[in-house]
């Protein structure tokens, strides 16, 4: 494989809270190739959104510990100064569609201006040219040009989501992070937006990190799956392999909990709750809910390499651990 676009190595992020140190991300590592899309899959509170924010260095004030390397085209962007990161990385190289897109637009600025804004600020475009480009970007996501002069409150939720998407794409960044881009929308609107994303990926070769807990919507867009559980990535697999049969026991349990069209088996609920990230258990974090738990699980599991470029954080695939 050629040099990947994005390499995340050992990324850790801990927050200081009233109750103690919350370990939102622990030694997260993954890679993403050019023009590829990866989904970060996992339930609420597993650290997906923290990862998105850490990649753009949009950290809250209560960060206790932040370490690791994030290489974009071989450059460690964690090491850049704040000002350089703001000017060179944000929106020029990486943009984001945030979770709460309903409220992601400034209520008192016209939609067109907001979409064009990154061009004015980062690329020094002239107003008229930026407006024209904004109209094109909006058209590409299916928003007509006469919406440019409207205010966000005059748009429906789906329209606003499209506007935010157009805004994320306008500077033609190498990587777009989509944090739950469709979770607040109805099914038809979801499908419409996923189709737009697929087309853009095909046409422009933009890389995507899709963050969702929704197995169904992600399967159409992505090439890879990174499964997250309790602040760790527990499996990375090519999407086709993962959706056929996940390697990690958590992945299998997760897939078994998804209702399927052509399968008469009832969805299976995963017993128990994710561990408390204030005080994560020793050893494997999924062990308490795992059906295949055995003796070695009390110790920190290895990130085992499997056939087909898959990896899983589990003793089941370790030579030493298997009995």
């Amino acid at each position: 494989m050629a040099e990947p676009l994005l390499v995340v190595e050992d990324l850790s992020l801990h927050y200081r809270t009233e109750a103690g140190i919350l370990r939102a991300l622990d030694s997260v590592s993954f890679e993403l190739g050019r023009g590829e899309a990866v989904v970060l899959l996992g339930e609420s509170g597993c650290g997906k959104s923290s990862l998105a924010k850490a990649l753009l260095r949009l950290l809250p004030r209560n960060v206790a510990h932040h370490s690791g390397r994030v290489l974009l085209d071989g450059t460690d962007i964690m090491a850049l100064s704040d000002e350089r990161f703001r000017r060179d990385i944000r929106w020029n190289r990486i943009s984001i569609v945030m979770q709460a897109a309903m409220n992601a637009l400034n209520p008192v600025v016209k939609v067109g201006e907001q979409v064009a804004e990154p061009l004015l600020v980062h690329a020094g475009w002239k107003r008229a040219a930026a407006a024209e480009k904004a109209a094109q970007a909006l058209a590409r996501v299916g928003v007509a040009a006469d919406f440019m002069d409207r205010y966000p409150f005059e748009l429906s939720g789906g329209m606003r989501q499209r506007v935010v998407l157009a805004m994320a794409l306008i500077t033609e960044p190498a990587l777009v992070i989509l944090d739950e881009p469709t979770s607040a929308l109805d099914l038809l609107t979801q499908a419409g937006i996923m189709n737009v994303l697929k087309r853009i990926k095909w046409e422009t070769g933009t890389s995507f990190i899709l963050i969702t807990h929704d197995v169904g919507t992600s399967s159409e867009l992505v090439d890879h799956v990174a499964l997250m559980y309790a602040g760790q990535i527990v499996e990375t697999s090519p999407a086709r392999d993962f959706f056929r049969e996940p390697a990690h026991p958590y992945g299998r349990a997760l897939m078994a909990s998804v209702p399927r069209l052509h399968d008469r088996a009832d969805p299976v609920h995963i017993e128990g709750n994710p561990p408390n990230l204030l005080d994560p258990p020793e050893g494997c974090r999924f062990a308490a809910r795992c059906a295949q738990r055995f003796a070695p699980c009390d110790r920190e599991p290895p990130f085992a390499r499997l056939a087909g470029g898959r990896r899983a954080l589990c003793w089941l695939f370790d030579e030493g651990g298997r009995e």
Binding site: L56, L58, R61, R86, R87, I89, R90, W91, N92, S95, I96, M98, A100, M102, N103, A104, L105, N106, P107, V108, V109, E117, P118, V121, H122, A139, V141, G142, V143, A144, D146, Y151, F153, V164, M167, G192, N195, V196
Partner: protein, 372 residues
């Protein structure tokens, strides 16, 4: 291409006409509502300031006493004639003041005159130039109050907004914590600090005058007059400033903190916009309506002055005037003050309606007149 819902086409001219029509209805409704509000406020004041008509009893006794005093001074009149004269003159006064009619009837007459800004004559007070016209008395005191409190409050307002905006970015920093710790100093009123300021800077280190608005006798040329007023303003302005600056910064900082955690502010940050632009366009701009409201309300709040602070600094303002009027039961002066204040308030609210629509596109004029 994904199909897009289109708005049904409508004639631009027709839409404009309709907008103007709706706008006219909106303005008319607002004016009617505000006039009724002012009317209710003024009427309540009339009833209260007249103690539901009881002040008229006092007034009657006062008239009889005054007339008796005047007539007694006139010798060479028989007691019977004198009594008749007294009755005649009292009747004349009663007729002039319509005191023979029931209070409820006269209260509406007062209301009509008050609403038409016919503030009438004071009963006991008069302006420095000797006029008994309530409007003259008020106009004479107004500039002094506006000058002092206007200067101090505008200073406090802009200082606190700008400081608060920068503090909201440095939440938890030493300066921020110092401001939070100092906020309770505003529990003490301006006059409290005023007393200490006078003590220190007028007597211990005499660098400022202890009170008054201008040197006695007042300087002749305009420039030295202005300088003298300025010198007299320093201590009271500082007193007001100290007493309100910290709590003001504290509350605006909290306001900005809440608004800087909006999703669109975070989005602006992700977009890599410079911090100044985020402050201006994403924090200040969407929050302008409440800021302007509070600014305008502060401005009309000045009108009532501050009674004790004006006393402490011997400042010839409206606060002192209203205080004296209440003490003298000078009903016309009290009502006159309230009427003007009510009109100013109504005018401000009217102005705010337009500013809101201008500043926030979500506030739309609809025929219900209910704002959004």
């Amino acid at each position: 291409m994904v199909p897009v819902p289109q708005e049904p086409a409508r004639g631009q001219a027709g839409r404009d006409m309709r907008q103007v029509y709706l706008f006219g209805i909106f303005v008319a409704r607002r004016i009617v509502a505000l006039v009724i509000t002012v009317m209710i406020g003024v009427y309540l004041t009339i009833v209260v300031a007249n103690m539901g008509g009881q002040v008229d009893e006092l007034r009657l006794i006062q008239i009889r006493a005054d007339v008796t005093e005047e007539v007694r001074a006139d010798p060479g009149v028989s007691p019977a004639e004198r009594q008749a004269l007294i009755e005649r003159r009292v009747a004349l006064e009663v007729d002039r003041l319509n005191l023979d009619q029931p209070f409820i009837w006269r209260s509406f007459d007062y209301l009509r005159r008050a609403m038409l800004l016919d503030l009438g004559r004071a009963e006991q007070m008069h302006s420095d130039l000797g006029s008994r016209q309530v409007s003259r008395i008020i106009v004479e005191r107004l500039p002094a109050t506006l000058l002092l409190f206007g200067t101090a409050n505008v200073l406090v307002f802009f200082t606190s907004i700008l400081t608060a905006l920068s503090l909201s970015r440095r939440y938890g920093s030493p300066v921020d914590r110092a401001v939070v710790a100092l906020a309770p100093t505003s529990a003490a009123p301006g006059w409290f600090y005023g007393i200490f300021l006078i003590l220190i800077f007028a007597f211990v280190i005499p660098i400022a005058p202890p009170g008054g608005m201008v040197a006695v006798p007042p300087p002749d040329d305009a420039l030295s007059y202005a300088l003298s007023v300025l010198r007299h303003m320093v201590l009271p302005v500082i007193a007001i400033f100290i007493s309100s600056i910290f709590v003001s910064i504290y509350s605006w900082r909290t306001f900005f903190l809440i608004h800087s955690s909006e999703d669109y502010v975070e989005m602006a940050r992700a977009k890599g916009l410079p911090e100044r632009m985020i402050e201006r366009r994403y924090i200040l701009r969407p929050t302008l309506p409440p800021i302007i409201t509070s600014f305008l309300l502060m401005l009309i709040g000045l009108w009532s002055g501050a009674i004790i602070l004006e006393q402490v600094f011997n400042w010839p303002g409206l606060g002192t005037l209203l205080f004296q009027a209440i003490g003298h039961r000078d009903t016309p002066v009290i009502i006159g003050g309230v009427v003007i204040f009510a009109y100013l308030l109504a005018l401000t609210v009217f102005l705010l309606d337009f500013l809101y629509a201008l500043l926030d596109p979500r506030v739309r004029i609809d025929p219900e007149g209910s704002g959004r």
